[in-house]
Subunit: 338 residues, 2 copies
Amino acid sequence: MTKPAAKLIDVARLAGVCNATVSRALAREPSVSAATLQRVEEAARQLGYVPHGAASALRARRSRTIGAVLPTLDNLLYAKATHALQKALDDSGYLLLLACHEFDLTNEVKVARSLIERGVDGIVLIGAEHDDALFAMLADLEIPYLLTWSLDRSGRHPCVGFDNRVAAMRVADYLVDIGHREFAMISGVVAGNDRARARLAGVREALTARDIGLAPQHVIEAPYTLAEGRAAMHSLLASATRPTAVICANDVLAMGAVLECHAQGIAVPDAVSVTGFDDMEAASILVPALTTVRVPMRELGYAAAQQILASIGGTDSARVTELAVDLIVRGTTASPRR
Amino acid sequence: MTKPAAKLIDVARLAGVCNATVSRALAREPSVSAATLQRVEEAARQLGYVPHGAASALRARRSRTIGAVLPTLDNLLYAKATHALQKALDDSGYLLLLACHEFDLTNEVKVARSLIERGVDGIVLIGAEHDDALFAMLADLEIPYLLTWSLDRSGRHPCVGFDNRVAAMRVADYLVDIGHREFAMISGVVAGNDRARARLAGVREALTARDIGLAPQHVIEAPYTLAEGRAAMHSLLASATRPTAVICANDVLAMGAVLECHAQGIAVPDAVSVTGFDDMEAASILVPALTTVRVPMRELGYAAAQQILASIGGTDSARVTELAVDLIVRGTTASPRR
DNA sequence: CTGAAAGCGCTAACAA
DNA sequence: TTGTTAGCGCTTTCAG
């Protein structure tokens, strides 16, 4: 004999006012008198009233929900970034509706569509590279969106991120500066991933500028897992001209690479220097601690939340927000032994 | 001069049928003729029609969205679990609405409430310990829910998980069997975390049964981070009676503990054995690889999705699903040197 | 400051 | 197999 959940009208009746007044009171509109507000709140509390979001969204054309499309959650990096975003949105009363495309940009269009179907007020995407159909849909339906982690070179899309290419150049330059000439790169999978591509391009560019080559067999593309990092370092160590410096496209790959060196009894950084990218917590805890590029994850999440909420609110000011990154030199890099 | 987004009625007009037919066609109801279905699909495609989820949810009383409340995403373990759940839900056309309570069970009631406001069809919770107010709200509003990761001892709540206590006992028993007598435990924070509490209790119980003590100063509670694992091991190594075996409540703590041993030049497992819990990817990649308890994360996510969808559908059969866990003996454990 | 009333876009009886 | 119609619960003009 359970009675149905209380609705707005029930609260109104109990409080002795009309439904509109309850709606206004619960939305904390200043026009409601203090006495009425209190009566309404008491009635709502007493009935255990929970607003019906779908009805509200239908009428108000706003769901207080933001959609996030990411490659995967099965990776600490994306998880941390998502967490930062979620926290920042939470502060503004927004919830995150989540979808993963598993590194498939065609699939991304589909999952973004299902997010839109659920009535998200805006969409946060990772990276600058997306299917044209996605951008077309977003424009057509006039859904506010935001690119994150990368800077959009074309200037056509709002974004908050940093320059992956320049950051990667910084790493390569530093290694050249301390004397390295034999390089290898363990890159992320570049297909459909502009961050990985920019990092690889940055390394190539910096080395070329210093007249240093990067042999094709010294560039390995690998998914972002420890195991892949180990495997990549394994084949690098087996190559004819062993590199003295291995630049990795992210910390997970770098940790895998260092682990493989440990397993083979190869000293890091004495025999080979290794660098990461992203500066995850583990990077500083490792022994030796990882030289890497610090990415402002928190700030990114916070800035992304601010900016997507601003576009929703129409206060769409800054279209491109660039964040600074820092090279953090720690224990996995040193000058090569001669 | 952008025209408003197409709605059902627009599709109907273009296809030359009525709105209900479009609704039926798009829902793939078998009663719609093939010819009509095709006309409707073509019209929808042509107009770039995207259904209005709020309207649908309001009318159909179903949002095809599941809410998940977790402690945090800022931890690979919860991220992986969430990912497994998300994937399994995705297969059934459901999306995941996310909220984190940051290890605060009072806050959990609030965030669960905001999930319900958004009209989720069901809620997945982590662990068996929750505020009474949360259970009351769920019952009152008749929202299907599911506890995961733990088994509910009271039998009052549907759950899918495993027996953390028994699993922890297995670890302790194994270490005793290979000769250890001096134990320490790096436990998770037990307040508001029944998984952590059960693991600690299991270790205590197993040791007591074998007449082995666990000194208070050999039990350290620490949040699940590498840094905390290192710090805990640091203080353990400094204690008067140094343990020969350190049982950690999860892999992250265990890896931190092993790292601290490396940093101090203390051999693992020769000088001290270390065990983890959860069997994250990193556990097998580490050098030496971590002895740990394998938790069936994928199966858990999949089973959780099946079960919550079943309760929504009313096919609420199995209320308690117990999954098996395995002790995985690898390189960080060995008999103590005498 | 509060009330009356219209309708957001869709689904599901019911009818044909 | 398809059409007609009545709301789902809420917000928001417009009056008062």
